[in-house]
C-alpha cells in the first residue's frame, strides 16, 4: 500500500519526464527525416523550464488560468488509472476502460474552458476542431476496444494486461500473447485512432499554425504554455501507454518504455511525411475505412472466440 502511494506520487513525474524525453527525441528524429541536424534530445526540458521561468503572465479571466490547471489535473488522474506495464496496477482495479475513456476527456474539456475565455476566435475554432476530431476518432477506437472486451471478457485494463501475460525475460520472449496478434485488425484501427489522439499529422487541425495560428494555444504564453507543454507530454505518455497496455501486453519496465516510445515514434514518422486533412475530411476518413475495419475486426473476434 505504501509503495502504491509512493508510486502514485512518482507516476506523474516519471510520466512527465518520459513524455518530454519522447518529444525531445522525436524532434531529433523528425529533424533527421528532414535532413537537418536537429536539437539536442534534452531540448524539450530546456523549453519547458524556460516557459515556466517566464516573468510575466497575462490572463483573460479566472477560467483562463484554471483551464490549464484543470487540464493538468485531468491528465494526472487518468494517469493513475493506467497500469505502468504489468509492473504496478496502482488504481487500475478501481476503474476500468470506460472510466479511462471518460477521464481522458477531462483534460481537453478543462483546456477548452480556458481557451474559450481567451476571447480569441482562433482558439475557439481550434477547440471546435479538436472536439470534432474527437467525435471522429472515438467511434472507431471504441469499437476496437469493444473487440478487446469481447476477446478478454473484461473491461478492466489490469485484467486485459494480465490476460496477455507471458513469460517476460530477456532470453524468453513471449510476445505471442499480445492482442495485436490475436486481434490484428483492431490493433491497426486503434493505432490509426492513436494518430488522431496524439494530434499528429494528418490530424493536427487543432493547432494548424498556418490556418489558425496554433489554435488553442493562441493566447497562452509563458507559464500557462509551460503547463500545456507538460500536459501534452503527459497526454503522449497516457495514449501510448494505453495502447501498449491493451495491445502489446504491457510488459515489464524494460519493455514498456521502449514500446511506448516506439509507438509514439511510429506516429511521429507518419506525421513527418503527410500534410494535414481538412477537419471535415478527417471526420470522413475516420468514419470510413477505420470504422469498417473496426466492424470487421469485431466480426473477426466473434469468429475467433467461437
Amino acid at each position: 500500500m505504501n509503495i502504491n502511494i509512493l508510486y502514485a506520487a512518482l507516476a506523474p513525474i516519471v510520466a512527465i519526464l518520459l513524455g518530454l524525453l519522447y518529444i525531445g527525441i522525436g524532434r531529433k528524429i523528425i529533424a533527421r527525416l528532414q535532413r537537418r541536424y536537429g536539437p539536442p534530445f534534452y531540448q524539450q526540458y530546456i523549453d519547458t523550464i524556460k516557459l515556466l521561468a517566464k516573468k510575466t503572465v497575462s490572463s483573460h479571466g479566472v477560467f483562463f488560468s484554471l483551464g490549464p490547471i484543470m487540464g493538468l489535473a485531468g491528465s494526472m488522474v487518468t494517469l493513475l488509472f493506467i497500469p505502468f506495464g504489468s509492473a504496478a496496477p496502482l488504481l487500475s482495479f478501481h476503474g476500468d476502460i470506460i472510466l479511462v475513456m471518460y477521464l481522458v476527456v477531462i483534460a481537453p474539456l478543462g483546456m477548452a474552458l480556458g481557451v474559450g475565455e481567451g476571447s480569441n476566435p482562433n482558439g475557439s475554432i481550434g477547440m471546435a476542431r479538436g472536439l470534432t476530431l474527437m467525435l471522429a476518432y472515438e467511434v472507431p477506437f471504441v469499437l476496437a476496444l469493444f473487440s478487446v472486451v469481447l476477446y478478454t471478457h473484461t473491461t478492466s485494463i489490469a485484467q486485459i494486461v494480465q490476460s496477455q501475460a507471458g513469460e517476460w525475460s530477456l532470453l524468453k520472449f513471449h510476445g505471442f500473447n499480445w492482442l495485436t496478434f490475436a486481434l490484428p485488425i483492431s490493433a491497426i484501427v486503434a493505432d490509426i485512432c492513436l494518430q488522431g489522439m496524439l494530434g499528429e499529422k494528418p490530424f493536427d487541425q487543432v493547432i494548424a499554425p498556418h490556418e489558425i495560428a496554433s489554435g488553442p494555444m493562441v493566447e497562452y504564453g509563458g507559464k500557462y504554455l509551460g503547463m500545456m507543454v507538460i500536459n501534452h507530454a503527459l497526454h503522449i505518455y497516457i495514449e501510448t501507454a494505453l495502447f501498449v497496455d491493451i495491445f502489446l501486453g504491457g510488459g515489464p519496465v524494460w519493455f514498456f518504455i521502449p514500446a511506448t516510445f516506439s509507438v509514439f515514434i511510429l506516429s511521429l514518422i507518419i506525421n513527418g511525411v503527410l500534410p494535414r486533412f481538412r477537419i471535415g475530411q478527417a471526420l470522413k476518413f475516420y468514419w470510413g475505412v477505420p470504422l469498417i475495419l473496426a466492424v470487421i475486426g469485431i466480426i473477426y473476434t466473434m469468429v475467433v472466440i467461437k
Binding site: S58, S59, L66, V77, L99, S119, M134, E138, K284, L291
Partner: protein, 609 residues
C-alpha cells in the same frame, strides 16, 4: 399518517386553486404561496412516515385502481421533488394566475397517471396531462403555432393509446392486461408504445419537441423537458412490463435481446445521434437544449431496449440524471434569457464575468450531460455502456458513443457561446440572474456532484425497482458500481481528481506570480487592433464544417418529410375538394347513392358484422 392517492390528488388540485386565487390578487404573494405549497406537497411525498395508500372504486363492471408500485414511487419522488424547484424558478417571472393553476393540475394528473393501475384511468390522466400541458405551452403567445403541433402529436398519441386499449378490450373482453391473451399482438404493442415514444420525442415522432421547447415559457420548459418527458419511459416500462420481458422474448431474439427491444434500442440510438447532431448545429440556446433533450432521452430508450437488468438500470439511472441536469440547465438558461431577453446564441457571449454563479451551475450541468466522471452523469453512461458491452451490441455501441461524443460538442458550444469569449458590448450592464433561478440550480448541481461521488446511492433505489420487476440487481456499494465486466469507484476517482486539482492550484498560487489581467481587446489579432470586440466572437455556426459534412442529414430531416407528406395530403384534399364540393346537386346525389350501395353490398356479403 395515512392517506390515499385520491386525497393527494385532491390536495394538489386544491393547492392549485388557492394559488390561483392568491395570484389573482397579488402576483408575488401568489408565487410565494405556490412555492410553499409545492414544498409541502414534496414533503408529503418524500416523508417516509406518510403512507400513501392504494385506492380503488368500481362503477358497473369496471374497477378503477390506483396504487403506487416501487416504480411509481421512484417517479413520484422525481416529479414531486422537481416540482418545487421549478416553481421556485417561476417566482421572479411573476406569472399569471392560470399559470400556477395549470401547473398544479399537471402535477395532479401526472401523479394520477403514474399511480393508475388500470387502463382507462391511465388514459384519462395521461390525456389530462397532455391537455393541461398544452394550455401551459401556449401561455406565451409566441408558442401558439408550436403548441398546435404539440397538441396534435398529443392527440395522435392519445388516439393511439385509446385504440390500443380498445384493442386490448377486444382481445380480452376486459380492461385488465394479461400476458396470456396479449402475447403475440404486435399491433397492441405498437399502439400502446407510440404515445410514450411521442412523449419522449423519439426520432420519427419528435417533431413537436424542438419548437415547443423553444417557444414555451422558459421555466415551464424545464418541467416539460426535464420532468414530463420521463412519463414516456414510465409508460413504456409500465406497459412493457405487463407484457413480461420473457414473454417478449418469445417473439425471437437478436444478439440475445428481444427483437422488439432491439428495435426500440435502435430507435433510441438513432434518436440520440441525430438529436445530438441537430443540437450542435442549432443557433438557438433553447433549441440546442431541446435537441439535447431528445438526444439524451434516446439513451434512455437504448438502455430500456436492451431489456437486461443492466440496461434497465442504466435507463432508470439516466432518467434520474437527465431529470436533474436538464431541469437545471433549462432553469439556468431561463435565468439568462430573463436577463438578456434573447435566445439567440450569437447575441450572447462573455457572460462569465457578469454571471459567475450561473456559469458554475451550467458548467456542472454540462459536465453531467457529457457524462464526465466527477458528476453522476458518468454512472448512467457507464451502466448503459456496460449493458451494451455485455450483450455485444457493437453497432449500437458505435452509434451511442458517437452520440455521446457529439454531446461534448454541443455542451461545449452551449457554455462557450453563452459565457466564454469576449463580452458583447450590448451586455456590459447585465446583472447576475435573480436568486429564484440560482437557488434551484445550485441545489440540483449539488445533487449532480454528490451522486457523482456516491454513484451507488441512487442505484439502491433502482435495484429495488429492478427486484420488484423481477430482475437481477446491480452489485454496488455507496461509492462503487461493479458489473460482470468491470466497475469503477466514484468516490475514489472523483476525490483524486479534486485533490490533484487542489494540489496543482495551490502550487499555482504559491509559485506563479500574479497574472496581469488583460482585456478583450488585448488578444492576438495578427498585429491588428480590433476596435469592436463583438467582432471577435466566434459563435454563430460554430461547427460549420460539420454542417457541411452532415449536409445530407439536414437535407433529409424528418420535419421536411412530414412537410412533404403534408403537401401530399393537401394535394389529395384539394383534389377531393374539387371532386366533391363542385356545387353540382346531381353529383352529390350520385355520391350518396354510391356510398349507400357500397354499404348495402358489403353488408350483404357479410363484411360488416
Amino acid at each position: 399518517m395515512n392517506f390515499t392517492i385520491g386525497h393527494l390528488i385532491l390536495v394538489i388540485v386544491g393547492a392549485g386553486i388557492i394559488t390561483a386565487i392568491v395570484t389573482k390578487f397579488n402576483r408575488l404573494s401568489g408565487s410565494i404561496t405556490a412555492l410553499l405549497l409545492s414544498i409541502g406537497i414534496a414533503f408529503v411525498c418524500f416523508y417516509p412516515a406518510f403512507h400513501i395508500l392504494p385506492i380503488s372504486f368500481t362503477t358497473g363492471d369496471y374497477t378503477f385502481i390506483f396504487n403506487l408500485s416501487t416504480l411509481s414511487r421512484f417517479f413520484l419522488m422525481l416529479f414531486s421533488g422537481m416540482f418545487p424547484l421549478v416553481i421556485m424558478a417561476t417566482v421572479s417571472t411573476k406569472p399569471k394566475a392560470h399559470y400556477y393553476f395549470f401547473f398544479y393540475l399537471i402535477l395532479a394528473s401526472v401523479i394520477g397517471t403514474i399511480s393508475s393501475q388500470d387502463l382507462l384511468s391511465f388514459f384519462f390522466f395521461f390525456e389530462l396531462m397532455t391537455l393541461f400541458s398544452y394550455l401551459l405551452v401556449i401561455y406565451k403567445k409566441r408558442a401558439i403555432k408550436a403548441g398546435l403541433v404539440y397538441i396534435l402529436m398529443g392527440i395522435i398519441g392519445g388516439l393511439s393509446l385509446l385504440l390500443g386499449i380498445f384493442y386490448v378490450f377486444w382481445l380480452s373482453k376486459d380492461f385488465r392486461i394479461s400476458v396470456e391473451i396479449l402475447k403475440g399482438s404486435y399491433a397492441t404493442l405498437f399502439l400502446l408504445s407510440l404515445p410514450f415514444l411521442i412523449k419522449m420525442a423519439a426520432m420519427p415522432v419528435h417533431i413537436w419537441a424542438p419548437d415547443t421547447y423553444k417557444e414555451s415559457e422558459d421555466v415551464y420548459t424545464a418541467f416539460l423537458s426535464g420532468v414530463l418527458s420521463k412519463l414516456g419511459i414510465y409508460g413504456l416500462i409500465f406497459f412493457w412490463f405487463t407484457w413480461g420481458i420473457y414473454g417478449l422474448s418469445a417473439w425471437g431474439k437478436v444478439f440475445d435481446v428481444p427483437v422488439t427491444g432491439y428495435i426500440i434500442a435502435w430507435i433510441g440510438a438513432i434518436t440520440a445521434f441525430i438529436g445530438a447532431v441537430y443540437a450542435l448545429l442549432s443557433e438557438d440556446v433553447k433549441k440546442l437544449l431541446a435537441y439535447s433533450s431528445i438526444s439524451q432521452l434516446g439513451y434512455i430508450l437504448v438502455g430500456f431496449g436492451i431489456m437486461s437488468s443492466l440496461g434497465w438500470a442504466g435507463a432508470l439511472y439516466h432518467t434520474l440524471t437527465h431529470t436533474i441536469f436538464k431541469t437545471m440547465l433549462f432553469i439556468v438558461v431561463a435565468g439568462i434569457i430573463f436577463r438578456l431577453n434573447t435566445t439567440k446564441l450569437s447575441e450572447m457571449g462573455g457572460l462569465i464575468k457578469k454571471m459567475p454563479v450561473s456559469f458554475l451551475t451550467l458548467l456542472v450541468g454540462i459536465i453531467a450531460l457529457a457524462g464526465v466522471p466527477p458528476t453522476m452523469g458518468f454512472a448512467s453512461k457507464y451502466l448503459i455502456y456496460s449493458a451494451l458491452f455485455e450483450k455485444k451490441l457493437f453497432l449500437l455501441t458505435a452509434v451511442v458513443f458517437a452520440a455521446s461524443t457529439a454531446a461534448f460538442l454541443y455542451a461545449y458550444r452551449l457554455i462557450h457561446n453563452i459565457f466564454l469569449g469576449p463580452l458583447k458590448t450590448s451586455l456590459k450592464n447585465t446583472k447576475e440572474a435573480p436568486l429564484p433561478f440560482l437557488i434551484p440550480s445550485l441545489i440540483l448541481s449539488l445533487f449532480l456532484v454528490m451522486f457523482g461521488f456516491f454513484p451507488g446511492v441512487p442505484l439502491e433505489w433502482i435495484n429495488n425497482i429492478l427486484m420488484s420487476l423481477g430482475m437481477k440487481s446491480i452489485a454496488s456499494t455507496f461509492t462503487t458500481i461493479s458489473t460482470s465486466l468491470g466497475g469503477f469507484n466514484g468516490l475514489l476517482s472523483s476525490s483524486i481528481f479534486i485533490s490533484i486539482f487542489g494540489i496543482i492550484f495551490i502550487l499555482y498560487l504559491i509559485l506563479f506570480p500574479k497574472a496581469k489581467w488583460v482585456n478583450d481587446k488585448n488578444t492576438f489579432t495578427a498585429g491588428e487592433v480590433m476596435h469592436n470586440t463583438d467582432l471577435l466572437t466566434y459563435s454563430s455556426h460554430f461547427y460549420r464544417f460539420l454542417e457541411r459534412e452532415f449536409g445530407l442529414l439536414i437535407k433529409l430531416s424528418v420535419k421536411k418529410l412530414y412537410d412533404n407528406i403534408l403537401g401530399i395530403f393537401e394535394w389529395m384534399f384539394d383534389v377531393a375538394r374539387k371532386l366533391l364540393y363542385h356545387g353540382n346537386v346531381n353529383g352529390y346525389v350520385w355520391a350518396i347513392i354510391l356510398v349507400t350501395l357500397t354499404f348495402v353490398i358489403s353488408f350483404l356479403i357479410g363484411g360488416l358484422r
